[in-house]
Subunit: 136 residues, 2 copies
């Protein structure tokens, strides 16, 4: 798995937060894998394994429009046919931490796993570095 | 990735909960990958990316001895060089849900990611089926 693949995986991770933060359901739907098994573990909720159920959950979350959710300090934890990114999710003054996994489907990286949970906070970073990414 | 590899991945996932539930720090230490990047996201805590920090956290958790934590309804969400298992974590009357990822290192599957978070509860299952596993 090359560094250029790392960049594409991190790009997919950013695309997820762009869809999430802007309330763009169509982009979110496009991002999730269609052929591979998928799982979505929203904070405090039962896990979802059915793609239709997962997309219904995102429709409910995104229906209120843009929420400003963005990622911070994304890093690739594992790379291969399945690649995993861990990042902070920053919204307002709060932060969560997430594990996001992607597989290649139709020549692009699509999401197969999202788990997010609360954490004490994201590390303080100058605003200009908030969208920066780190590679292991 | 063959079905027999699935079984080995699920075996590693069970080994994680055996170490966790029995308070076996040595087994927990043996389970985590040593060469690959690792990440551990305990509920409500900042993510840990340094193996020494992760093992220190497990030492703190396991120091009080057996806690009875066990997995339920484990299923493989993604398979490949990196394989991901999602399962319930059941302890007493409570349940969490976890994403666990493994890579092959030295001929066996070792953990590279653990994220757990609270969930409303695990599905009701007869006690005899609690340790059963499901493959996608």
């Amino acid at each position: 798995m090359s560094r250029s693949s790392d960049a594409l995986v991190l790009f997919a991770n950013e695309a997820f937060y762009t869809a999430f933060g802007s309330g763009d359901y169509a982009a979110m739907d496009d991002l999730w894998a269609e052929d591979a098994p998928v799982a979505c573990l929203h904070p405090g909720a039962a896990p979802l394994f059915d793609r239709a159920d997962i997309m219904k959950s995102w429709q409910d979350i995104l229906t209120s429009g843009p929420n400003g959710m963005m990622s911070q300090d994304a890093r690739i934890v594992a790379r291969g046919e399945v690649s995993i990114v861990v990042c902070y999710e920053v919204v307002g003054q709060g932060a969560l931490v997430a594990s996001n996994a992607f597989v290649e489907e139709g020549g692009r990286w699509r999401m197969v796993l999202h788990q997010a949970g609360p954490c004490p906070g994201a590390p303080s970073m100058p605003p200009g570095e908030r969208m920066s990414t780190r590679l292991n």
